[in-house]
């Protein structure tokens, strides 16, 4: 059975801090790892990673994948209150585009 574990489950920081969110996985026939951000509505796509060691960046957010150690991290630098959200990690490992999600990390950024 495919499994995705995120840590920490929740995190409280102040504006300007840097945070690192973790995602480890056990998946048959790994194909891709995705990060989503969820505010009080639909999850929105952040990154998709398929190759080890290649960092994806978007503004203050970046992510990297380690396929040997089976994990990914999502970094957010200079956090802002608008970064407060649930961050979801998901892994695709079978056909038909099915994803297995982790529990999510609830990030709260205080002013």
């Amino acid at each position: 059975e495919d499994k995705v574990v995120q840590s920490p489950l929740s995190l409280v920081v102040h504006e300007g801090d840097t945070v690192t969110l973790n995602c480890s996985y056990e998946v048959t026939n790994f194909r891709s790892l995705l990060w989503y951000k969820q505010e009080k509505k639909a999850p929105t796509f952040l990154f998709m990673l398929t190759s080890s060691g290649i960092e994806k960046k978007s503004g203050r957010l970046s992510s990297i994948l380690d396929k040997k150690e089976l994990f990914s991290i999502l970094n957010i630098t200079a956090t802002q209150t608008g970064d407060s959200a649930i961050y979801l990690c998901a892994v695709g490992g079978t056909s038909y585009g099915k994803l297995t999600f982790g529990q999510g990390t609830i990030l709260t950024v205080h002013p």
Partner: protein, 113 residues
């Protein structure tokens, strides 16, 4: 822009009622999914469909059924709602092929009393 819409944002039903949740996507996606989201448990897959009239059980299909008569529409049915089905229900869609990016609807918050 990809748009995935769900029929209701909030729904309150009584125990034993039959409940229909509808999802429509406008991007001609082959794949459609139904998830439920509960605190501390993340998104759990209920059912998915990779083509019209095709469906596959996800991780927690008990108590649910689905219908996909048209490519753009995927319905989730609770045959006899129970209080443990109180949850946030999210629909998603994606293309078949190597990209696994799923596009999500806004969710339906279902309360069963």
């Amino acid at each position: 822009d990809v748009k995935v819409t769900q029929s209701s944002r909030y729904l309150v039903k009584r125990t034993g009622e039959k409940v229909f949740l509808e999802c429509v996507q406008d991007m001609d996606h082959e794949n459609m999914f139904w998830y439920r989201q509960d605190p501390g448990l993340g998104l759990r897959l209920i059912y998915f469909s990779y083509d019209v009239k095709m469906k596959e059980k996800g991780d927690i299909p008990e108590g649910y059924s689905v219908s996909r008569e048209k490519k753009e529409r995927f319905s989730l049915i609770l045959e006899s709602a129970s209080t443990n089905q109180t949850s946030m229900y999210l629909c998603a869609s994606s293309f078949s092929g190597p990209s696994y990016e799923q596009y999500f609807g806004p969710g339906t918050r279902l309360t069963v009393t």
